[in-house]
């Protein structure tokens, strides 16, 4: 089953990415040396506001059609480092203060080769006040978060991030090593007061190969293999579902709030675009006073 995000309109030719990858201006992931071209700027850096806006309009139309998106600083906020330390692991925080109105949130990294990074649909078991994700950023880009309210309206917020090469950066020393333990999961629960949401972290072992990482010998790209669906339920009730894409960093980690009062164990099912399927259960600790 193709990911719901794998909309062909949104997938920019790898060629463009290959070109932008030649003009990187930031540290390369995991290198002993930070290579910094003296004169070359990231391609995205020279785009002007008008081009960025046009790009966003194009993406917007392909995801949301003609539906109106309103700007908002009260319904959605997106936080990310202005300049990423590691383009293959850029922490993103989405804050949705009017959480009772929130049905879901879309994350779009405009200048990534496949911009539609994630869609999260919250279920009754979630506290959607805040979500954290780790993404790859391939170019200087706007990051858009679009929140969908329960009454079907859309609101957006934007953050500009300077990073490059996150999609094509090799993730480890070998594909084999990167695949080790694929499908393992871990869940952590922060201490919380009774009646308060529980801050929860789900970690999934998965290389999330972007399809843009090249093997030196074969000159082939390691085929894209990424988690395209995460479903988290508690006691049969949905907490959230996440549709993901190659922009999610390897070993995906998501932080989210668990609504208080839920019962039963948490069940997580993950699947990837190559028919990988994994399930794990976790027990939520009782709140401490």
């Amino acid at each position: 089953m193709p990911s719901v995000l794998a909309n062909p309109v949104l997938i920019r030719p790898v060629l463009r990415c290959a070109i932008t990858a030649l003009t990187l201006a930031l540290p390369l992931a995991g290198a002993g040396a930070v290579l910094k071209p003296a004169l070359v700027q990231a391609a995205g850096a020279s785009d002007d506001e008008a081009e960025r806006l046009a790009r966003w309009k194009e993406i917007q139309k392909s995801i949301f059609g003609d539906k109106r998106i309103e700007a908002s600083d009260s319904l959605i906020k997106v936080d990310a480092p202005v300049r990423a330390l590691d383009a293959s692991l850029v922490p993103i925080t989405l804050t949705m203060p009017e959480k009772d109105q929130v049905a879901g949130v879309h994350l779009i990294i405009d200048d990534n080769p496949s911009p539609y990074a994630a869609h999260i649909a919250f279920g009754p078991g979630a506290d959607p006040g805040e979500v954290k994700l780790r993404v790859r950023v391939n170019n200087y880009t706007n990051i858009h978060a679009v929140v969908e309210t329960k009454d079907g309206r859309l609101f957006e917020a934007t953050k500009f991030v300077k990073a490059s090469g996150g999609c094509s950066a090799p993730m480890g020393m070998s594909d084999e090593e990167a695949m080790k333990g694929m499908g393992d999961m871990k869940m952590k629960f922060a201490d919380s007061q009774p009646g308060q949401p529980v801050e929860t972290t789900l970690m999934v072992r998965h290389p999330n190969f972007s399809g843009m990482q090249m093997n030196q010998v074969t000159r082939d790209y390691t085929p894209a293999r990424y988690v395209n669906k995460l479903a988290i339920t508690r006691g049969g009730q949905s907490v959230l579902t996440l549709d993901g894409d190659i922009s999610i960093a390897s070993n995906p980690v998501i932080n989210f709030g668990l609504r208080p009062g839920g019962q039963g164990p948490i069940k997580v099912t993950a699947s990837d675009n190559q028919n990988g399927h994994w399930e794990h259960s976790f027990t939520v600790p009782s709140a401490t006073n």
Binding site: G32, A38, P91, G172, M173, M214
Partner: protein, 317 residues
């Protein structure tokens, strides 16, 4: 031995390291090519060029690692190949100015470009390229990417290319240059997953390569827990002097390794505490290791990335 004596600058170098984190020794060579560097004779027949504590740039030909050679009775071993074809070619020229003995071995200490992209400059010598058994796979995964970046900076003709090891060290091996033997150790994942160290029998000097950073902030690309373990393996060798991968060309091994492990231990302990306290990674990169700020050159550039690496490793503990 037909060698020139080059005045040792290691004392000046070490003083430089102490001045507010600024590497004074490198300042005169900034903006100049690799030809501006000199070789220090750090032991009998051992010549090392100090890499600059800077980023790879068009001006420095990625000559940022400590590279050099060891002269035996029969042949010459290149300890590190250089950061680019240009850097490797410079080193080869320096060797040829000093000795006519064949260059029999070129050591590729690990996958990072500042250490192995000079290798192709020695192709005509047909040396044995010595590397860790995991180096080939690491070059497969990373080599093309590094090459692309280097070409952007230096241009295709100066960048260098990927050269694979022809002698893969599984655990340990010895290479005899005549009158001196180099004993190699293939380490577990530490700085990278393919770190190779060696010890010279004639001088007792240890070559830990990037398992030992001095002055320049260590960069973590393998395993933090593993690096601290391999530091013990190196300590157990009881070397008095060492040629670090970065920093002065010769140092007292024990205090230099103490400095390195202090940084790594701080990184490990503070990252573990951050994870235990549910601190998000974006906050951890700003807070972990800050006490080390003034002790290393390029702290600002690398510390946050080291914390990211450490966090990714330790959050699965």
């Amino acid at each position: 031995m037909p060698v020139d004596t080059t005045r040792s600058r290691s004392q000046a170098t070490r003083r430089g390291a102490l001045f507010g984190g600024l590497c004074l020794c490198c300042l005169p060579t900034l903006g100049r090519s690799a030809e501006g560097f000199a070789l220090n004779e750090v032991g009998p027949g051992i010549f090392i060029r100090r890499g600059s504590d800077t980023e790879a740039s068009r001006e420095n030909d990625d000559a940022i690692a400590n590279i050099g050679f060891i002269v035996g009775e029969r042949s010459v071993m290149v300890t590190e190949s250089g950061g680019s074809a240009a850097d490797g070619a410079w080193l080869r020229g320096e060797i040829r100015r000093r000795t006519d003995k064949p260059i029999s071995h070129v050591v590729l200490t690990h996958v990072h470009p500042d250490h192995c992209f000079g290798a192709a400059a020695f192709a005509e010598d047909k040396p044995v390229y010595v590397g860790h058994h995991a180096l080939r796979a690491a070059l497969d995964a990373r080599g093309n990417y590094y090459r692309t970046r280097l070409v952007e900076i230096l241009g295709a003709d100066r960048a260098g290319s990927v050269v694979y090891p022809t002698l893969e060290v599984k655990e340990s091996t010895e290479i005899d240059l005549g009158g001196r033997t180099l004993r190699f150790t293939a380490h577990g994942a530490a700085h990278t997953n393919c770190d190779l160290s060696m010890r010279d029998s004639a001088s007792g000097i240890l070559f830990p390569a990037d398992l030992l950073f001095v002055t320049r902030i260590p960069s973590l690309d393998g395993s933090l827990v593993g690096w601290l373990k391999e530091a013990e393996v190196l300590r157990a060798m009881d070397a008095v002097k060492a040629v670090p991968g970065h920093g002065p060309t010769l140092v007292d091994f024990a205090p230099a390794m103490d400095d390195l492990t202090r940084y790594l231990t701080t990184l490990r302990d503070e990252t573990r505490r951050a994870i235990a306290a549910d601190m998000p990674i974006e906050k951890a990169v700003r807070t972990v290791g800050q006490a080390e700020r003034d002790r290393w050159v390029l702290f600002e550039t690398y510390n946050g990335r080291n914390v990211t690496q450490a966090f990714k490793e330790l959050e699965w503990e």
